[in-house]
C-alpha cells in the first residue's frame, strides 16, 4: 500500500519540478527537449498513479465486479460478446421482470458494453485472448487514465500546460472520481466522465478557434456520451446555457455561431440513433433549451449582419423590440406545446432536482435510492480535500480573466455545485471542474511564488536584503502549498483504500485478533441458487438484488435495479409487508418459487432488508393505500421497532418472519440480539412460517432463501396443515448455527 502511495506522490513533485524548469530557464532546443521528456515522464507517472490507486479492490479482494448495476452491465456485455450487435440491440430479456420481461436492448445505454466488447475483439485479433470479466473489471481504471489526459488538454485551453499537468494529477487521484471508477466498478459513469471531459475539451477548442472540425468532434463525443450515460442531459443544457450567457454578455462572434451550430446539428441527429433516446431530443423539455438557443443564434447572427450596416443607436431599439417579442413568443409556444401534449412533460428525476420536495412526496422509488440524497459537508471534504476551499477562490480568479472559456467553467461550477448539493451522485460531475479550477488557481499561485529568478538577478536591481526577503516569502508560500499537495496525495490514498475499495459483494471484516476476514455470503447464496434450483425458477427479492441474482445466480427475477415499473416493485413490497397468507397468494400468482431476503442482524450489517423495509412499505402504500399502511408498522412512539414491542403488523409481515425465523434459537435462552437494531428479539416474537420453507441460510445468515411450499395435496389451507403437523410433531428442525462471536 505504501508503495502505491509513493507512486502517487511522484506526479506532484514532478509537476513542481517542471514548473521550476519552465519558469527559470531560457528557451532553447535542449530545454524544450527536457521539457517534453519531463512532461512525458510526468504523464506516465500520473497514469500509473491513477490506475494503481484504483486497484486496491483487486489487490485486497479479487478481480470481481462490484455492487449492483455493474452486474447488469457485465451480464449485458457477456450477451453482446456471445451474440451479434444486432441481437444485442433487439435483446428482449424474459429472465427479468417476470412475467413482463424487459426490452433490454431498447432501454439501456449501450456505449459501455459496446466499448468493452470492442476492446475484447481487438485484443483477440492481436492474439491476446483476455477474459471478458477482466476487461470489465479493469475498464474503469483504464479510462481514468484517458480522463487524466483529456483533462490536461482541457485545462491547457484554460491556462497553460502547468495548470494542465496539475489538473491531470488531481483528476487522476481525486476520491470524488475514484468513488465511481475503481477496478470492478463497471458502470456507465466509468466511461461517461471521460466522455464528459472530452466533449467539453472539444467544445472549448471549437469555440476558441471557431473550427467546424473540433465542434464536430465535440458532437461525436457527445454522441458517445449519449450512448453511455443518462447524464448526457447535463451537457445538453450546459453548452446552450454557456452560449446563452455569452450572448447576454454581448460577446457574440461568428466563432460562437460556427461552434454551437455544428455541435448542435450533428449532436442532435446523432443522439437520436440511440434506441433508448429515440425522439426525445425533439420532444422532451430537457432538450428544449438547446433547441431554443439554436434558434436564438440564427436570429442573433442575422442581427449581427444587420448591425454591421446601420448605426448603433438605431440597432439597439430594433434589437430590444425583437428580443422581447421573440422571448414572449418562445415561452408561449413552449407552454402551448407542453399543454397540447406534443412534447413530453419534465421527467421525474429532473423535477426532483429543482423542487427538492417533489421526489419525497411523489416518487418514493427515487427518494429511496441513497444516491439521490442531498449531500453533507463531510462528503464534499472527503471527496476533494483541500480543493474544496480552493474552488471558490478559483472561480473568483476565473472572473478576473473572464474569457469565453472561463465563462464556461464558471457556469459549470455554479450549476453543478447546486446539483451536487441536491443529489449525491452528481458529485461525480462536479469533481472534474473542482480539479480543473483548483489546478488553475494553484498554478497561478505557483506562477507567482515558485519563481525564484530574483536570486539570479540581484546584482542588477534592488538591495540584497529585499531580494532575500522576496525569496523567503516565495519559499514559504510555495512550501506550504507543496505540503498541502503532499497531504492531498495521502488523503486521497487513505480515502480510496478505506472508503471506496469495497466491492460490496464481498464484505471486509476483522477477526477478533484484528486479521482481515472476508464475508462472502452473497456469492455463497447466489452459487447455491445456481446449483440447487431449477433453471427456470423465479426468485422474488427486493429490487436491489435483482441484477446480482441475474448476473451471479442466473435465475429469473421479479424486479431489479432498472426500476422501470413502479407497480411491479410495489408488488414485491406488498408481498414483503403483508401477512404470510396474503403474500403467499400474491407470490403464487407471480409463479415465484423462492424468496430471498438479506438479514444483517447476526453480522451487524446495516444495509439489510429490515432497514430498507420502510421503503418497501412506502412504495407498496403508494399503490395499495388501503392494504398497506406505513403507520401500522410503527409503535406508538412513532418508532420503528423489531423487538417484543414491535407492532403486530410488523410481526405478522413476511419480511419480519423471514428475517428472524429461527434467529432467537441461535442465542442462549432464546434472547436474540439483533446487532444492527441493538434490540432483543425473543422466540415469542417470531411466529412460525406456515407457507414457506427455509431452504438455505448463508454462513453468517446474511442471505436467507425460502421456498414457497407446494399447495397441499388434499387442498387444505397451509396454515391449518401446519397446525395439524405441529400437533403431531413438536420437534423443530435444528438450524446450523453460525459462529456469531467470531467477527467484530
Amino acid at each position: 500500500m505504501s508503495e502505491i502511495a509513493e507512486k502517487i506522490v511522484v506526479p506532484d513533485t514532478a509537476v513542481t519540478a517542471n514548473e521550476n524548469d519552465t519558469t527559470t530557464q531560457k528557451d532553447g532546443n535542449c530545454v524544450s527537449w527536457i521539457q517534453s521528456s519531463l512532461k512525458t515522464l510526468i504523464f506516465i507517472a500520473i497514469i500509473i498513479a491513477s490506475i494503481s490507486s484504483r486497484l486496491f479492490a483487486v489487490i485486497r479482494f479479487e478481480s470481481i465486479i462490484h455492487e449492483f448495476d455493474p452486474w447488469f452491465n457485465y451480464r449485458a456485455t457477456q450477451y453482446l460478446v456471445n451474440n451479434s450487435f444486432k441481437d444485442f440491440l433487439n435483446w428482449f430479456d424474459e429472465r427479468t421482470w417476470y412475467p413482463l420481461g424487459r426490452v433490454t436492448g431498447g432501454t439501456l445505454y449501450p456505449g459501455l458494453m459496446t466499448t468493452s466488447a470492442f476492446i475484447w475483439h481487438a485484443l483477440r485479433k492481436i492474439g491476446l485472448p483476455v477474459d471478458i470479466r477482466n476487461i470489465c473489471v479493469l475498464f474503469a481504471p483504464a479510462f481514468s487514465a484517458i480522463t487524466a489526459y483529456v483533462t490536461y488538454k482541457l485545462t491547457c485551453e484554460l491556462k497553460d500546460e502547468k495548470a494542465g499537468l496539475l489538473a491531470a494529477a488531481f483528476i487522476g487521484i481525486v476520491p470524488g472520481y475514484i468513488s465511481r471508477s475503481v477496478a470492478g466498478s463497471y458502470d456507465n459513469e466509468a466511461i461517461a466522465i471521460t466522455l464528459l471531459m472530452a466533449t467539453f475539451m472539444f467544445w472549448i477548442k471549437g469555440l476558441k478557434q471557431g473550427s467546424i472540425l473540433n465542434s464536430s468532434f465535440a458532437a461525436l463525443c457527445y454522441f458517445y456520451m449519449v450512448s453511455a450515460w443518462g447524464g448526457y442531459v447535463f451537457i445538453t443544457n450546459l453548452i446552450p446555457f454557456h452560449v446563452f450567457c455569452l450572448i447576454l454578455m454581448g460577446r457574440y462572434t461568428s466563432k460562437i455561431y460556427v461552434a454551437y451550430n455544428t455541435w448542435f446539428v450533428i449532436g442532435t441527429i446523432a443522439s437520436m440513433q440511440i434506441p433508448f433516446v429515440g425522439f426525445l431530443p425533439i420532444k422532451s423539455n430537457d432538450h428544449m433549451a438547446a433547441l431554443g438557443v439554436f434558434c436564438l443564434l440564427q436570429i442573433v447572427a442575422l442581427g449581427d449582419f444587420i448591425k454591421a450596416k446601420i448605426s448603433e443607436k438605431k440597432f439597439k431599439v430594433i434589437m430590444w423590440v425583437s428580443i422581447i417579442l421573440i422571448m414572449i413568443g418562445g415561452i408561449a409556444g413552449l407552454f402551448l406545446l407542453t399543454y397540447l401534449g406534443l412534447i413530453a412533460p419534465w421527467t421525474g428525476r429532473f423535477y426532483s432536482l429543482w423542487d427538492t420536495n417533489y421526489a419525497r412526496i411523489h416518487i418514493p422509488i427515487i427518494a429511496s435510492v441513497s444516491e439521490h440524497q442531498p449531500i453533507t459537508w463531510p462528503a464534499f471534504f472527503l471527496d476533494t480535500h483541500f480543493l474544496i476551499w480552493l474552488f471558490p477562490a478559483a472561480v473568483f480568479l476565473m472572473f478576473m480573466d473572464l474569457k469565453n472559456e472561463h465563462v464556461f467553467i464558471i457556469v459549470y461550477s455554479v450549476l453543478c455545485s447546486y446539483f451536487a448539493g441536491v443529489m449525491v451522485r452528481l458529485m461525480l460531475t462536479l469533481t472534474p471542474v473542482i480539479c480543473i479550477a483548483g489546478a488553475v488557481a494553484l498554478s497561478k499561485l505557483f506562477d507567482i511564488y515558485l519563481d525564484f529568478s530574483p536570486i539570479f538577478s540581484t546584482k542588477k536591481t534592488g538591495t540584497t536584503k529585499s531580494s532575500v526577503m522576496t525569496v523567503l516569502t516565495r519559499a514559504l508560500v510555495s512550501a506550504s502549498f507543496i505540503y498541502y499537495l503532499y497531504l492531498f496525495v495521502h488523503h486521497c490514498t487513505w480515502v480510496t483504500q478505506s472508503a471506496y475499495s469495497s466491492p460490496s459483494v464481498v464484505l471486509p471484516s476483522q477477526n477478533r485478533d484484528g486479521s482481515m476476514a472476508i464475508i462472502d455470503d452473497y456469492r455463497e447464496a447466489y452459487y447455491w441458487l445456481r446449483m440447487n434450483t431449477d433453471y427456470d425458477a423465479k426468485i422474488a427479492s427486493w429490487w436491489d438484488y435483482g441484477y446480482q441474482i441475474g448476473g451471479m445466480a442466473d435465475r429469473t427475477t421479479l424486479v431489479d435495479n432498472n426500476t422501470w415499473n413502479n407497480t411491479h416493485i410495489a408488488i414485491v413490497g406488498k408481498a414483503m409487508a403483508s401477512p404470510e397468507e396474503v403474500s403467499y397468494e400474491l407470490l403464487k400468482e407471480h409463479d415465484v418459487d423462492y424468496v430471498l431476503v438479506i438479514f444483517g442482524g447476526v453480522l451487524g450489517f446495516g444495509g439489510d432488508d429490515i432497514n430498507k423495509f420502510l421503503w418497501m412499505i412506502r412504495i407498496a402504500e403508494g399503490i395499495w393505500p388501503e392494504e398497506v399502511k406505513e403507520r401500522d408498522f410503527f409503535v406508538n412512539q412513532g418508532e420503528f421497532r423489531v423487538d417484543s414491542q414491535a407492532s403486530q403488523t410488523m410481526k405478522k409481515s413476511l419480511m419480519y418472519k423471514m428475517s428472524y425465523h429461527g434467529f432467537p434459537d441461535l442465542f442462549p435462552n432464546g434472547q436474540g440480539q439483533d446487532r444492527v437494531r441493538q434490540q432483543v428479539v425473543t422466540a415469542a416474537d417470531v411466529e412460525d412460517l406456515d407457507y414457506f420453507d427455509e431452504v438455505f441460510s448463508s454462513e453468517n445468515w446474511l442471505v436467507r432463501i425460502y421456498k414457497l411450499k407446494d399447495l397441499d395435496i388434499e387442498g387444505r389451507d397451509l396454515s391449518d396443515f401446519a397446525e395439524f403437523e405441529k400437533s403431531k410433531n413438536t420437534k423443530r428442525s435444528s438450524n446450523k448455527r453460525p459462529e456469531i462471536d467470531l467477527r467484530v
Partner: protein
Amino acid sequence: MAPVIQKKKSVASKDDIQKDFMEAINLSISSYKSQVRNNKKLRLIDIFATMLVVIGVFQTAFVGLIQDNYPFNAFLAGFIICVGQFVLLMCLRLQLTHPFEGISKSKAFGEFVVASLILHFTCLHFIN
C-alpha cells in the same frame, strides 16, 4: 418585421422605428448584393442554401398535407439534414467572408466537408 413596430409604441414615435427598420433592411440587402456580386463561391453557397430551405419547407408541407408522419424518423432525417446542411453552409460562409485566425479558407472548406460527411452518414443511418 412590420407587426413588431406596431406593437411597440412607448419608446419613440412609431414612424421613426418603421423608418429605421426599412433603412436597415434596404442597407442590408444592398450590401448583401455587393458582397455576392463579385464572389462566385458565395453565390454558389447561397443558391445551395436557398435550395435546402425550399426542400425543407416542401417536406414539412408534404407531411402537413397528408396529415401523417408515419416513418417519423425518415421525415425527421430529411428535415434535419436540410437544416443541418444549411447551418453548416452558413458556418462556411462566415469563415469565407471573414476568415478566423488560424483557419485558412481551404482548411475551413476541408472541415466543412468532414462535418457534412458525418452529418450525411448519421442521417442516412437514421432513415434506415
